[in-house]
Symmetry: C2
Subunit: 304 residues, 2 copies
């Protein structure tokens, strides 16, 4: 579940007209590298191009839960990245169809095992969970500072119902009111999610569970061309990997994080979803080998 | 080679009177966990306590190259850390004996295999290299933004003579004029050092060599009590490990980086050198196991 949208993006490298974006789009495309059995819950207007719906269908995405609102317009976001690519200004936000989004879970979606809730209002995220008749094996969600600012109580209700929260370091600090990410992880996990993934951009990601921590590196890149959707691509790759392997162990979550980071490292190489539409599963596997080389070390017997 | 000094430190957790610090002190103490055969090159005034010299001697540090200037005062630095512990203000810098420091290499220091040049003026660092009759197997150096600001040409001369440069991410960006650390690493290595270690504080460290990169995690900590000397402790642990193993391969440098990070993770737990004086080699080995658990992942055959 996540937004399917139009974006217009400015970076130091150039700018785009309206291109296709949205958390739901990135999650679906990214997870399709691991599973061809996906079901999307989203809403667009009738201005959304059939060609992109065809692409999603070709990736194995069931579109029955994608509502197309006649006479309405698709969600539109426009933003400009600063020179360091780590921060951005929102130029335009037109909610359009998202303003009254009431997620529909088609009958054939019931019984799904793995659910990824892209960043949307915590009420909408919760509605999806409540409309599933069988508790999935794993529910992961993304959120952002905006919901912490204006809907913290709603957010906490939704957090209490999920297994995995995926947020960035600033969001973790805001949500927990703790600067130390170790302390933040304890505060946040006390709100519900047993697993917490903290994304740290160019510095990688942390996974917390019980008293275990995993630190995943990010691939050092020459250029980040467009960070839009990198977090959603990560989340999609993570949940796609978990679903395909049908394994929610901590060890397997580590692998799923590496898969997500590998996909995100492609996503930032071109504007929007362009790079995700070019690459093959073989490219992803090759990049995962780069992550192994990057992070791998082998301590030896006592030295000195 | 490095400063042996007095520090006075303020952090959000408290403040100290004059305590013992200095890059040379931290490097010697940290490397002593791996090698008991060290030789220090430094200068102090006659106000420096014999008790600390005795401690250094007990750790196997040859003090013949430590000049004690009669009637002069030891280098003094005082600083205050901000709430996030990532930045600090210098309150006082009294160069004292460092102002005219002319490093002496005693006869029995000749023939050393491994040299760590702590942060000092690039002229002094170069003097040490030039006064060694035999080229060591590996020379590593630290530096800081101050020398890039006021002595860039001198710094570049010294850089052209060393094998390993150890700096932080901001310094790497300033020295290379590149924001991307991948690009920065190429620019900097073209200045001389074949190996570049970029320290990223709480985000770990990167090692660049040829077309290889290694990303070492930092241990996520609940609290950083006092970051003073963490970088020098890292450098000392790194070079101590290399020296003890007598192995300058890329694979062994990875291990040396983990050893340095483990020692640095202790150093920040208390003010000054206090924690380094309490812990045992066994504590270091146990912490290294935490790093292995933190960074370790094992990809499996194709999923999905």
């Amino acid at each position: 579940m996540g937004s399917v949208a139009f974006d217009a993006i400015e970076t130091p490298f150039g700018k785009t007209d309206k291109i296709i974006g949205g958390a739901g789009t990135y999650i679906a495309l990214s997870s399709s590298f691991y599973t061809k059995d996906q079901k999307i819950v989203a809403v667009v207007g009738d201005d959304f191009p059939q060609s992109m719906l065809d692409i999603l269908a070709s990736k194995g995405v069931d579109l029955e839960g994608l509502q197309i609102k006649k006479g309405e317009k698709t969600f539109f976001w426009s933003g400009r990245y600063h020179n360091d690519m780590n921060s951005r200004d929102t130029l335009v936000t037109e909610l359009n169809v998202l303003e009254h989004f009431d997620p529909i879970i088609p009958e054939n979606y019931q019984g799904v095992d793995y659910v990824m809730l892209g960043n949307l209002s915590p009420q909408v995220q919760r509605a999806v969970i409540e409309r599933l008749e069988k508790r999935p094996k794993l529910i992961a969600m993304d959120t952002m500072n905006f919901w912490m600012d204006i809907a913290l109580d709603e957010l906490k209700k939704t957090l209490s119902m999920v297994d995995v929260l995926i947020i960035n370091d600033e969001e973790a600090r805001q949500l927990s009111k703790e600067y130390s990410l170790v302390k933040a992880s304890k505060v946040i996990r006390a709100m519900g999610p047993k697993y917490l993934i903290i994304k740290k951009g160019e510095h990688g990601a942390l996974l917390f569970h019980g008293d275990k921590v995993f630190f995943a590196p990010a691939l050092p890149l020459e250029d980040v061309f467009d960070p839009t959707g990198a977090g959603d691509t990560f989340a999609g790759g993570f949940m796609g990997y978990i679903a395909a392997s049908d394994d929610t162990s901590f060890e397997n979550m580590k692998r799923a994080i590496i898969a997500g980071l590998a996909l995100a490292s492609f996503s930032v190489e071109k504007f929007g979803t362009e790079r995700l539409l070019e690459i093959s599963r073989n490219d992803v596997d090759t990049r995962i080998e780069e992550f192994v080389a990057l992070a791998n070390f082998e301590m030896v017997q006592t030295v000195g």
